[in-house]
Amino acid sequence: MKKRRKVREFKPYSMFYACLVYLFLYLPIFVVIAFSFNTSKINITFEGFTFEWYWKMFENRQLMQSFGNTVIVAAVSTVFSVIIGTLCALGLYKFEFKLKNLISSSLYIPIVIPELVFAIALLIFFTSIHVSMSMVTLIIAHVTFSMPFVVITVRARLAGFDKSIEEAARDLGANEFRTFMRVTLPMISPGVISGGMLALTMSLDDVVVSFFTAGPESTTLPLKILGMVRKGVSPDVNALSTLMIFGTIVILLTSTLIQGRLEKRM
């Protein structure tokens, strides 16, 4: 943050280029935020400033319900992804077994496979075992695609992990569980947290997989927005999007802060 670069070093054209890049990235977002405060119902001209759409949004029960669904699905699936993913990464780090490479690289298939294919596969799987789509199938689906991200981040953290530190804990009288709680987990926690954050954001804005695996009662916010947009983008969608953007920024900042503090201690 505190880079003491002299302004002189910034050539005018590189400054111009940087501005273009940021404009390209953030202009659409600013437009959405701006129009969420627009008195006009049409997203073409800005007529006046109002909070009306925000109130309207909160009064929309269906919208609020899908928001609640999203939060529940994201929270539960993140917790499961983090637990399963961390254990998986630890297992892959600690034990040597046959076909380890194959097993570890097959974990990343849900990431590289086209999302639509993956979603349809899940749908076919659930129907073939006669499970109807509900909140549970939705959560299971979210865990399957977000868990590999936790494995990746935790394994990255473990790559530089010195095994003798765990041995030292054992040597000083800690059993396996105490060693994990007092030494291993605190040391890999930055990886666990960033994996969890990834899982959370993946789950929060997922459309494709949710579209196929959500039950009628478990519509998530992105699905709801998609449905609303079909009839044209209304200002309350803008308001909702704005809130979601701020929500994401808050989550991102907190995780960066926590991680920074954890890394600094090491």
């Binding site: 041995e167 030292a168 000083l172 059993n175």
Partner: protein, 382 residues
Amino acid sequence: MNQASEKVIVRLTNVDKNFDSERVVKKLNLDIEEGEFLTLLGPSGCGKTTTLRMIAGFEYPTEGQIFLEGEDVDDKKPNERNVNTVFQNYALFPHMNVFDNIAFGLVEKKVKKEEIQRRVEEMIKLVQLDGMEKRMPSQMSGGQKQRVAIARALVNRPKVLLLDEPLGALDLKLRKQMQGELKHLQRQLGITFIYVTHDQEEALTMSDRIAIMNHGYLEQVGTPEEVYNHPKTKFVADFIGESNIIEGYIENMTDNSIEVTMESGKAVIAEKGYRLEEIIYLCVRPENLKLSTDPVKGFRFRGQVREHVFIGSINKTMIELPNGQMLKAETPAEDELIPVGTVVNVYWNPGKVVVMRTKEEQIYNVIEQSVEIEGMTNDQIF
């Protein structure tokens, strides 16, 4: 020495360790006494670290037993053994400050808070880290980290402290200083130290006894003086200090001297108990190898002076024998040097030579002894 006060605290009997198909430690038998400073010395890959790790409980012997205080520890995990380890790379907990690192073992043992406070502070004083309680490991130098690692182990008052090349990562000056401090600590606390190193000088200066290992075998155990002055094997003679090792053949024997014929000449040694025509190794330390331009009685052993190297207090002279073997001789720096190229008579004080049997002769002797024993039993039977 009082025999009764010597108690065996660590005993290894017929310990074998295999990693996959590789035998890393072979038929190791070793008794370590209470309160001694024992060094496991050997080149890298000789099995010394594996031996230490088996005592700590990180590895288990494939065959054989390990006893701690007379108890077989085959089913004991590292956290159930009354030994502590100082790791080569310190292995401090990076997320804990100095105080918490040192207190770790006491917290696990559920020692009372006030006592933890007192004992950790005591340790911090002992290893001279006063005022650094709140420092994180990442903010410390190698020497300081090493002190934390030692304090973290010692605070638990272990019966045995295991040290795995603890000074390997330090620079020479700091290493010398820490050697002294470690030795002092060991004397002061009276704890048994088992110290692993590949540095023979470190082993000689610090240890009460040295166990020299090579290719998984224990070659010799003894005091520094014993292993230096009376190496039992060619490897030990070569590994501890510098040695000239010359192969010879016993030509003639009197009551207490042996005439040896070597590829490059003849010499005498003051030894007995060998067989005529036996092939032996002579081990002569460079400081015992003498050079003369005049013939020496009993010796007909000549070589050419090849090089002089001045190293502070001594001169090293390299002599080439007719068969191409190079010998090293050391003379005090103030002595006059024999010019390079001169052919000189090489000799030694016949009592300052260590004789070692070759492997073949060792086997021969074992067979001969067993034949004798069989003969005896036959006599007794009939």
